[in-house]
């Protein structure tokens, strides 16, 4: 069934079908469509007066047993960051959709960008990561939204769902018949008669969750460094262990939310790498190049954080690697290589507009 839609519509519908039950938000361009769709689609919708309140209400709803969602852009996200650190430390399931726009600061609200990846990598004090998934095409708005909700629930963690202005606001024809069925997340809460410890972990380092609606067990939720009972303990051995175990939980379970697209061509010596809004330009450039006899492979990571070891394995097989990103410094490349970038790694970067597939093709032609 062909329909005229946008990514915000697909994403909102998928979030709801996946079991997210509350949207809390403060409107900001270019996340407005998500806000507007959510107003009509979520069972519960709260209009918060600002982004700090948004994230605190999100945490409150999560503590009460809900699975909340918000959508924002950098100016709002930056206000949320202390509270997202809190949600990470409290281990509260929720989904935060970050719609990138041109920065720094308020930048240009109506212009897209891919400028917030390194921000996400460094946003938790201590250098920890929370799961970051990123859309790269229309169907990702559907499938990754489900993955975001289910990962938040499974890992008992906030999940950042990264996207950008054009991915959320551009209208396009789309065959709704291609969308896969989504089943709502099955939430299980601690039900044993034994004393509940809010941060006692299972073999996957995941603590059982229990909302404060419980009439049976005491629930302690804590933002400061705490032991498995949820009691502040400063730098006690138990409290520091708990802090490290939160990170362990995110890393150890990466396989359950790892997602990427790899189109490897035999004999290809060049790999095109991108994520987010530029992924389609890379796909189009690859199509053109392969049709014209110049063989290239493409790699589109969709789980951006934590970075998976397999990404390095994939990339390092190639003679030349071309990164295309709508930012000034190739942030994915920066995360993978740090300060020392090998000479066979090349970049196409633009700010203020989408990267044209022709620009990627031109870069490829420089390298054989």
């Amino acid at each position: 069934m062909q329909a005229l839609t946008d990514g915000s519509r697909l994403m909102t519908e998928s979030l709801v079908r996946s079991g997210a039950d509350v949207f809390i938000g403060y409107p900001i361009t270019p996340a407005n469509n998500l806000y507007a769709y959510s107003k009509n689609r979520f069972k519960t919708f709260l209009a918060a007066p600002d982004e700090i309140t948004t994230m605190q209400w999100m945490c409150g709803f999560s503590i009460a047993g809900h699975l909340p969602v918000t959508a924002t852009s950098f100016p709002g996200f930056s206000l949320m960051m202390e509270s997202i650190n809190m949600a990470y430390m409290m281990e509260l399931p929720m989904v935060i959709v970050l719609v990138q726009r041109l920065g720094p600061s308020t930048g240009t609200a109506t212009c897209g960008a891919q400028g917030d990846l390194t921000l996400l990598e460094g946003m938790l004090s201590g250098g920890y990561n929370l799961p970051v998934l990123a859309t790269s095409k229309a169907n990702d708005c559907w499938t990754l939204a489900e993955k975001a909700v289910k990962t938040a629930n499974k890992l008992r963690s906030p999940v950042v769902f990264l996207t950008s202005k054009e991915e959320m606001m551009t209208q396009f024809s789309f065959d709704l018949g291609l969308l896969e069925e989504i089943s709502p997340v099955k939430r299980t809460f601690y039900s044993s008669d034994e004393t509940y410890y809010p941060y006692k972990r299972d073999e996957n380092a995941i603590p059982a969750f229990l909302p404060v609606s419980s009439n049976k067990h005491q629930v302690r939720i804590t933002a400061s460094t705490h032991n498995e009972q949820g009691i502040l303990e400063g730098i006690s051995e138990a409290a520091l262990k708990n802090t490290l175990m939160i990170s362990e939980k995110i890393e150890k379970n990466l396989g359950s939310y790892l997602d990427y697209e790899l189109d490897e061509k035999e004999d290809a010596e060049i790999l095109l790498v991108s994520w987010g809004v530029t992924a389609n330009a890379v796909r189009e450039a690859a199509r053109e190049l392969n049709n014209s006899g110049k063989t290239v492979s493409t790699f589109i990571p969709k789980t951006l954080l934590p970075l998976a070891d397999v990404y390095v394995d994939i990339i390092t097989k190639y003679k030349h690697i071309v990164f295309a990103e709508e930012n000034h410094n190739s942030q994915l490349k920066k995360l993978i290589y740090g300060a020392r970038v090998p000479s066979n790694v090349h970049c196409v970067n633009k700010i203020g507009r989408m990267i044209d597939p022709m620009e990627i093709i031109e870069e490829v032609k420089k390298h054989g």
């Binding site: 005229l4 697909l10 769709y37 689609r41 605190q56 606001m169």
Partner: protein, 424 residues
């Protein structure tokens, strides 16, 4: 009376601290109300008062500095259960930082009680003044004394709509006052005046709390006692899918298009540019084409330019921008200002449709200059220009565009409808 709520003693406060009075009276108040520890969610802020949560057998939530009221609001709305009592302990520092949250919670009527431990300074970080520090009150970092009066939070919260507000001092047994606040539906606030024994007493030797309150006009009284406007969380049992069959666009026509057409429409905000663009791509879909439409406009959507990048293609569209459009349509001065450089870059294989009232920029493109605005009016100039363009290009049936036009609100414009049916 045995403790039911405080399970770890001694309490972690300095000798003579009013926080101890609040905690012990809270134990008594909750017992008086015959509550069970599982009926209570105690939310604490950052500050000396906040280290109390580990002493309590209730559910406890320990958050960020200044945000406990917002966090408690979220918990209260999330639980949406009047049988669960959400109590927020916050200091005057946290209340200063989170003042908006207090006003907001009062305004919304969230079911909760906020207990402000007001010792008139930030105790945990060395005794800095807060916005609650009364005029003349000295602190270690403000030995000359505050230059102006502090906030009257009781007056502010009352004005914002709180159901019950009272100011008292942390002297003796205050469990009746706490029980009264806890028993209220909607939003209740108790401001409890204290003097910090470590910083307040030392900086203001001999000062008595009651005298200070009298001098500062901080009366011990009820500020609000009204019918509660208790918050109820909306939870709809059923909402409509965003992917209903109404979105379906049937293919009724065939297009001759063999490769993508990239179009750039540029006009003025408020002149129907986006609506016209959407009609055009809908007609494309009715003709079996894949389409994209990327809008471009300033944040003030009602003024300045409004532009739209369209792609219509017989095949899947990946890249959805059109930096080198095949066709440009410019319908207004704002549109020309925005698109001028692009127009100037067009080569001889490209097409420019432009309103004839506009100065024609230097361009190699084939130009069609017609009185779109004059004939159809400013509001309909873009859709009218699109009819002209399709009439000339013929890459999809005119009937497709006429059909979507006929089903749109724009067709209600009599003059435009007559023009369309007469010319196309």
């Amino acid at each position: 009376m045995d403790n039911q709520f405080i399970i770890n003693e001694p309490l972690p406060f300095c000798k003579g601290c009013g926080h101890t009075v609040v905690s012990k009276s809270t134990e008594k108040a909750l017992q008086k109300l015959q509550l069970n520890p599982r009926d209570v969610v105690l939310v604490t802020d950052i500050g000396c008062h906040g280290i109390i949560d580990k002493a309590f057998a209730t559910h406890t939530v320990h958050g960020l500095h200044g945000r406990s009221v917002a966090l408690g609001s979220g918990i209260s709305a999330g639980l949406d259960n009047p049988d669960k009592k959400v109590i927020v302990f916050v200091g005057d520092g946290g209340a200063t930082i989170g003042m908006q949250h207090l006003i907001d919670a009062s305004h919304n009527g969230f079911n909760m009680t906020v207990v402000i431990h007001n010792n008139m300074l930030y105790g945990m970080t060395g005794g800095q003044p807060s916005e609650f520090t009364p005029e003349g009150f000295k602190t270690p970092t403000l030995p000359e004394g505050a230059q102006h009066a502090g906030y009257d939070i009781c007056a502010l919260a009352s004005e914002a709509g709180a159901a019950y507000v009272k100011r008292i001092s942390a002297i003796g047994d205050i469990s009746d006052e706490l029980a009264e606040a806890f028993s209220r539906k909607g939003f209740s606030l108790l401001e409890i005046m204290e003097i910090c024994p470590s910083y307040g007493v030392k900086s203001n030797p001999g000062l008595k709390l009651k005298q200070l309150m009298k001098n500062a006009g901080l009366d011990e009284k009820v500020y609000a006692d009204k019918e509660p406007r208790a918050y109820k969380t909306e939870e709809r049992s059923e909402t409509s899918s965003l992917l209903s069959s109404k979105l379906k666009i049937e293919k009724n026509y065939d297009s001759k298009l063999s490769k993508p057409i990239r179009m750039f429409l540029s006009g003025s905000a408020g002149e129907g540019v986006q609506a016209a663009a959407e009609l055009f791509i809908r007609a494309g879909m009715k003709s079996g084409l894949q389409v994209t439409k990327k809008g471009s406009y300033p944040v003030t959507v009602g003024v300045g330019f409004s532009a739209s990048h369209l792609i219509l293609s017989p095949d899947e569209i990946l890249y959805s921008d059109s930096p080198q459009p095949d066709v440009m349509i410019v319908s207004s001065k704002d549109g020309l200002s925005f698109a001028r450089k692009q127009v100037e870059k067009l080569d001889e294989n490209k097409l420019l449709f432009i309103d004839d009232s506009l100065e024609l920029p230097e361009t190699k493109a084939k130009v069609v200059s017609l009185p779109f605005r004059e004939e159809a009016g400013a509001r309909n100039a873009m859709i009218y220009a699109l009819f002209h363009y399709l009439n000339q290009s013929g890459f999809m049936p005119m009937e497709a565009l006429k059909e979507v036009f006929g089903n749109s609100k724009i067709s209600g414009n009599k003059k435009l409808s007559e023009l369309v049916s007469g010319k196309f």
